[in-house]
Amino acid sequence: MALEHPDMRVKIGGLTLINPVMTASGTFGYGEEFSSLVNLHRLGGVILKGISLEPRPGNAMPRVVETSCGMLNAIGLENVGVERFITEKLPFFRGVQVPVIVNILGDSLEEYRLLGRRLNGIEGVAGIEVNISCPNVKKGGVAFGTDPEMAAAVTSVVRREFSGPLMVKLSPTVTDITVVARAVEDAGADALSLINTLLGMAIDSKTRRPRLANIVGGLSGPAIKPVALRMVWQVARAVKIPVIGIGGIANTTDALEFLLAGATAVQVGTANFVNPRASEEIVNGLAAYVRDHDLESIRDVINGLIV
């Protein structure tokens, strides 16, 4: 019998989402920008622009460039800093019934620790997603996420300070992502979200210059979906904690593919720029899928790949 309201709930650590669809950090502003286009309360969760301890101005322009079925960004993690985030951005969500997961970034273990501490117990903060793709300035700019030990260190530092649901976001620029995934799981993460952007570059052959002021940038969008799907499938089989799939998800079919590969939830990123209502449409699409296939719940799809 087709349920009127299919059971779309999924659990990430202690957090139960009404459905598996969230927005990816840096592609949804601070949420308010989309309020006239998307009914925010219908989303499983929103993850906002990455927050650092102090405000950051971000990189010089140009910061974004289009590629084939994708885009490169070198925004430079421009953000208002944790204090203004708590006083100016978070309050908007008092009137909106949707879990807000705060993405945090830092360039030292100490910064991650202080961010974990500052956000702990803050009303309106449903959880933390730790962006470990940032360069560790004390280790010559090597990204935390590319080294299992450093990735584990960041995780445990934040874990000690923040008692709420803790998600760690993995960088794809590694030889074997399952090694970093297990290290982060052992360090106490409640869930893993992957993938962050692939490192790429674009050149203007007329001006003979890089198209990004920062020369390199993060590649995102449909172009990277096959790589993201493969990594989610590998990691979901290597760890026991929930995995959240990110990378080129633009419609319901994409979301289903990630759930089948083992993801418990998904994040919609670059697709928000192309179709601002993408996230809500995917919520509707998944609900219709559960109804049309007479599933108990969306959870029946998770890890459903027949191999």
Partner: protein, 262 residues
Amino acid sequence: MQETAQEKGKIIRVEQLTPDIFRITAVAPRIAGLSRPGQFVMVRVSGGYDPLLRRPFSIHQVTANGHVQILFKVVGKGTAVLAGACVGKMLDLVGPLGRGFSLKPRRPVFLVGGGMGIAPLLFLGKWLLQDADPVETVALLGARTREELLPLVTDMEALGIEVRTATDDGSLGHHGLVGDLIRDQDPGLGRQVYACGPYPMMRAVSGQAKALGWPCEVSLETMMACGLSACLGCAFPRGDGAGHVHVCKDGPVFPAEEVAWL
């Protein structure tokens, strides 16, 4: 937060004004109703993912029966695809976006447009004339050639607006930059200047307006991935040097003195 809509409008007309300049008219009543001069729409150019991102175009004209018009020059992949649009197909629009021109000048107006920058000035001119007590409005329009400029001059004049022209090749009006047409103006006229066009033109015009002591607003262009203030990719250095403004959210129209002209 200003209201924005996502609307798929049926294309009812595709005009080719010159070999590489096109005008598309689509039926999009919700967006038409909400639009103010100087605002823009993000247009999805292909149903697929290549090109992926939407392209920003200022709102060229809106009509009472809910039509939205964009005027564009083919400069790259997206505009090339758009130029091939067939009547009857749907145009996927998000808008109106951004902050447009101030609409109560209460002083005589100069509309200063260069090339495709003229697009939003037609909407502005029409809006100002519909005011109960319309101010005297003159348009200074420049482009590379007569062929590029004439169709827009005709439209502006059809509104009853006096037009003075300048072309790079001298084939129409003043042989030189549209900015030249302001230089020897009498400061006492105290005109409000609305400028939109290539960056060097706006920089020059804002300098001349400042020299004349006239208020001046400019419409900036930067690369835009979203147009929805979500990606932070459209940054522009603040006049006061403290971080960035975001052209799609804080603009595209800015008071000229706020712009840190590079």
